[in-house]
């Protein structure tokens, strides 16, 4: 034992450094080629996830206390404003309720089911935000044991839940969710409007997010008029996201400098600062029966470029036009 120890001492530190670098490079290479869910994470997760669940409650309650103190000061001013708003909203509400009945009747007519209730969902708690300040992804406390797979869509809890992100890797008792505000996130989306050429793309942009708290909204057809506050939903053309999930609201849409398309900002519907519970849709987007290889191709194009999607969008608008 002592001999072995001595031998270890005799190895120059430089060589050990090289060994570690090679080991790291090998691991990077392996995960690059064989996907992100790896045995190391799964084994570590067994021990660490329970600890995090407890600690996270501590962190959240700490954050809650701080938040309480701050909000108390603003509460009174806000109260008065809200009273005025309430009066306005009451009158508007009665008007809208009428319209809801009409909408429901029309929906039944075209056999569209209520947007989210058709999916099987499971609730999960957010147990860890990303370390560091570059990325926006988090861990939830459910995994394959609860039926979660890579590619599951994640919504914010509550009735009017918006899109939060997508599961990128999964272990037995945890899953990793990439939020739509992450810099590398791209979502095929559409503007809720009665016009037909309504496809667009919602991309996360760290620079934009830090400065304005918004996402970028791109590739909108030049002919489409998008007002501030227009609802942006996931598109049925997207290969990763289920259709008709609310993402957020459009803002400041204007024609690009190249005069080809429009772009603007998207205010997310979900408050990402205060995300504690999420709903995971267990159904995956169907990308064609028995055409798995074909299905994976649009997925790749969605994260890299949008040319393929634009083409399909053109095709879709054609058929939609015919339908009408």
């Amino acid at each position: 034992m002592k001999d072995k120890h001595k031998k270890l001492r005799d190895v120059p530190p430089r060589h050990i450094l090289y060994a570690v670098i090679v080991l790291c490079a090998a691991m990077i290479g392996l995960t690059w080629f064989f996907g992100s869910t790896n045995p190391v994470t799964n084994v570590l997760a067994k021990a660490i996830i329970p600890m995090q669940t407890g600690l996270n409650e501590l962190g959240s309650s700490l954050a809650g206390q701080l938040e309480n103190l701050r909000t108390l000061q603003n509460a009174q001013e806000e109260n008065e404003l809200l009273r005025e708003e309430l009066a306005l909203l009451r009158s508007e509400n009665s008007r809208l309720q009428e319209q809801t009945y009409e909408l429901e009747r029309l929906r039944n007519l075209v056999e569209l089911e209520d947007t989210y209730s058709q999916y099987t969902m499971t609730a999960a708690r957010v147990i860890q935000k990303d370390s560091g300040n570059w990325f926006h992804s988090f861990l939830i406390d459910k995994g394959t044991e609860d039926g979660i797979q890579v590619g599951c869509n994640v919504l914010a809890g509550g009735a009017e839940g918006g899109l939060v992100g997508i599961v990128t890797s999964v272990g037995d008792n945890y899953a990793r969710v990439r939020a739509i505000i992450d810099d590398s996130s791209n979502v095929g989306a559409m503007v809720l409007t009665d016009q037909s050429n309504n496809s667009c793309v919602v991309s996360g942009d760290l620079e934009l997010l830090t400065e304005t708290g918004c996402l970028s909204l791109q590739y909108i057809d030049k002919g489409l008029t998008v007002e501030d506050g227009a609802k942006i939903l996931t598109s049925n053309l997207s290969s990763e996201y289920l259709p008709d999930i609310l993402i957020g609201y459009a803002r400041d849409v204007a024609v690009d400098s190249d005069n080809l398309q429009q772009s603007g900002y998207l205010v997310p519907a979900v408050d990402f600062d205060d995300l504690r519970e999420v709903m995971v849709i267990l159904d995956l987007k169907e990308t064609g029966e028995g055409l798995e290889e074909d299905g994976s191709q649009p997925a790749a194009s969605e994260t890299t470029g949008e040319t393929a999607q634009d083409e399909t969008a053109q095709g879709e608008t054609g058929t939609a036009g015919e339908g009408e």
């Binding site: 530190p13 790291c24 691991m27 995960t31 790896n38 570590l44 997760a45 700490l62 990325f135």
Partner: protein, 177 residues
Amino acid sequence: MKAIVRRGVVTGIIILAAFLLQNNIFAAIPLIEITPNLLLLVTVTFGLLHGRLTGLFVGFFAGLLADAFGGTLLGQYALILSVLGYGCGFFTPYFYLESVVLPMGVCAVCELIYGLYVYVFAFLLRGRFNIGFYFMNIILPETIYTVVILVIVYRFLVFVNRRLEESAKRRSADKFV
């Protein structure tokens, strides 16, 4: 031999604590928009206190933990942290336990290198060229924040280290008497 195991266990606990603190407590508080990089801080401190090899291993395991729960590729944080830990070991002969100035400087430089590393591999390669923005809004605040935390935590880490060394010395002395 026992002393080495003991040191390993204590170091492991410190790394784990830094990781949990960084990901669960700091990240959960929305008022603090930037989280300090505690894993880097622990790596730098151990590298300075114990030299190149300890820095290398502490950096490797801290990075592996960050990779397992934060990275897209396993090994990307382990690589940069182990190299930085190793590099810190070169400054071991030049620093005194009482002064916090050298650790602050080394930590700041390491943070800058770490920030640039993440920027280049995760952002620049995807065509995000506005380095000025990322430097002012993410790298610099994180650096300042981490250095401030270092000043607070440094005494504690030195204290733990001294206790471990004392107990190790006492044990070996007992053995020979």
